[in-house]
Symmetry: C2
Amino acid sequence: MSKITRQQCIEMDLKDPLSSYRKHFSLPENTCYLNGNSLGVRPIAAKQRVQDVVEREWGEDLIRSWNTNDWIHLPRRLGDKISTIIGAQAGEVIVADSTSVNLFKLAAAAIKLNPGRRKIITEPGNFPTDLYILQGLKNFLGDQVELVVCPVDEIPDAIDEDTALVVLTHVHYKTGRMLDMSDMTSRAHNKGALILWDLSHSAGAVPVKLNDVNADLAIGCGYKYLNGGPGAPAFLYVAKRHQSTLEQPLSGWFGHSNAFAMLDDYQPAPGIERTLCGTTSVIGASVLEVGVDIMANADMAQIRKKSIAMADLFIELVESYCDGFGFTLASPKDAAIRGSQVSLIHPQGFAIMQALIARNIIGDYRAPDILRFGFTPLYLRYVDIWDCVDALANIMSEESWNSEEFKKLTRVT
Amino acid sequence: MSKITRQQCIEMDLKDPLSSYRKHFSLPENTCYLNGNSLGVRPIAAKQRVQDVVEREWGEDLIRSWNTNDWIHLPRRLGDKISTIIGAQAGEVIVADSTSVNLFKLAAAAIKLNPGRRKIITEPGNFPTDLYILQGLKNFLGDQVELVVCPVDEIPDAIDEDTALVVLTHVHYKTGRMLDMSDMTSRAHNKGALILWDLSHSAGAVPVKLNDVNADLAIGCGYKYLNGGPGAPAFLYVAKRHQSTLEQPLSGWFGHSNAFAMLDDYQPAPGIERTLCGTTSVIGASVLEVGVDIMANADMAQIRKKSIAMADLFIELVESYCDGFGFTLASPKDAAIRGSQVSLIHPQGFAIMQALIARNIIGDYRAPDILRFGFTPLYLRYVDIWDCVDALANIMSEESWNSEEFKKLTRVT
């Protein structure tokens, strides 16, 4: 079979129905940015928006902005927009804090929602902060919680009558493997367990239908596929049916039913707002809104179709141009169980990624040997994929990956 | 005694050693902003800084910024700068999350630091989120915690051998009353209790000497006197002596000793970094740094001197120009026990504040009857104080505060 050429990729771009979205993003010059799964790029409109929130809303309107610029409803307004991206209803999603903090709130709440049950089940190799937060919760609550860390394929059998909550990341951060959210949710529910989905690598990347699969709880990240900016506020989801009974321990004033009455006793807000804690991160949330607005307008079926086509193209190009260089595919070859990234394993993964970055091909590295490449259909072109693999093939041809020089390279972050 | 004139205030401004700081801030035109105790104004340099972090650091450098723009050390770098404002050492303060989230972390940690003790003592009427967070912690931990809410003057006697932690706000948000941090800390320590100070209305407003008074823990707000922008990240302090044994439940990946090793097991960072949780709010923290840099350069003794002079002037002007209008002073008249604000009580407080705001005199209102006026010596002039009281006197002379129209006015926030 003949190898796919750069020209063929350019022709694919010409037929791309999403090609008009690229102009909404500021992309660094002469760079292939295959790291939108880690930090999404800057929407063009973010520049104007952040100026406006800093200079006018803060600088001129000052404290009055809570009303005049509706800062007070920013978490909810933004949550409602995100709800359309992840298959939830208005009033089920809100923007707040970080993914880690939101996981703590909802996992703690789940233990109370499911009384008499002690187990929280998750998988080893889950995104580290998910494991760390659950460990912190377990240490904190002591005998009230048993944390079970069990290979994901064994989780269906591990869920039992003592299981309060299953915590899984929908798309694995390292391998890109995508779990069957519907099946796993049903299996949890069949045993009376709740399920919490981490959508950090899903929201804006793959179709998510929280309501259709009857998901209980979810969290997700604002700065990856939603292009919300570095350290953007995160979001969380609570199914309507759990909202009136959900109690979360981080009961700060923004979660109060009447925060500005300044009462001594906490009374949770009736809806999703009870998951809020402190004062809204207004600047960060305002910038996030720009990215969310773009994503909420795009057609997720088209995004998914292009994402799969890009990943398939990448795999095919690696197989044809990088044969014999020692790469192993870490991601599923079956697109049906793969998110919007492809990871390769190579023992010199760190050094290879450094060499790619030196050529302005930006992917990332995850210890000990994973090279990750994220595919973001709104701003990437098929030709970017070709250029990436071309650079990879050139690097592997030119360099000696067993040399002392490369062995000495150590990770920077 | 003759009343102080506007001209006399102008002359006071001419002699003000802090007058050169005003040019560092963007102040809305024709406005007296006496609400820096709620939301500080925008530093001029924040405009350039936020453009740089959004357009260059995020937009161009993207993920590489964790190293090239040192995002990774932003919480600590900023914490070290704040430490100089509150009398702590480098490595004792870090920027993270919100004040509410930080209180949860440290109060939960204190229970573990002081094993065998159950009581957390605080005062009624404390800033609501402090009470709500402690209630959430208590509900969450059940019998491990007893929450004692006790009038502040009775707290010294209430601290006993079962007291794990005393949580107090140094300067009261409503009355501006300032507690004796040294005395209260000693009293807690004498009974083996720890103490946590909320510095939200102190940091940048009054001298704080955390090390000198031997304080254990503290939290504080970035968007008030530090001028960090709406919803700016907050900070927290842990005395060096507690850092190696402090365990906080929100053990997210940024608190790990080696976050990017992506290990499955949480291992807390050795120092103050163990109090971090999720990914740094980069844009918000970068903007906060601008305000902190100005404050860290200013002379706190001069700030305190001018703050007292402004508050004394305000009280004297209210007494001389607003006599008979029904105002009562809610703040201590003794400057030694008063922060950098003065609050007045009036049964029509909400309507009066609305009338002031309509005249571009921005203070704020706290239910049910408090008018708050904050004094921020870096950007306010004595003549602003005169203009504020002049407007207040005019309003009270012109309007009928018992009319149906004013009784109908309800709070907006």
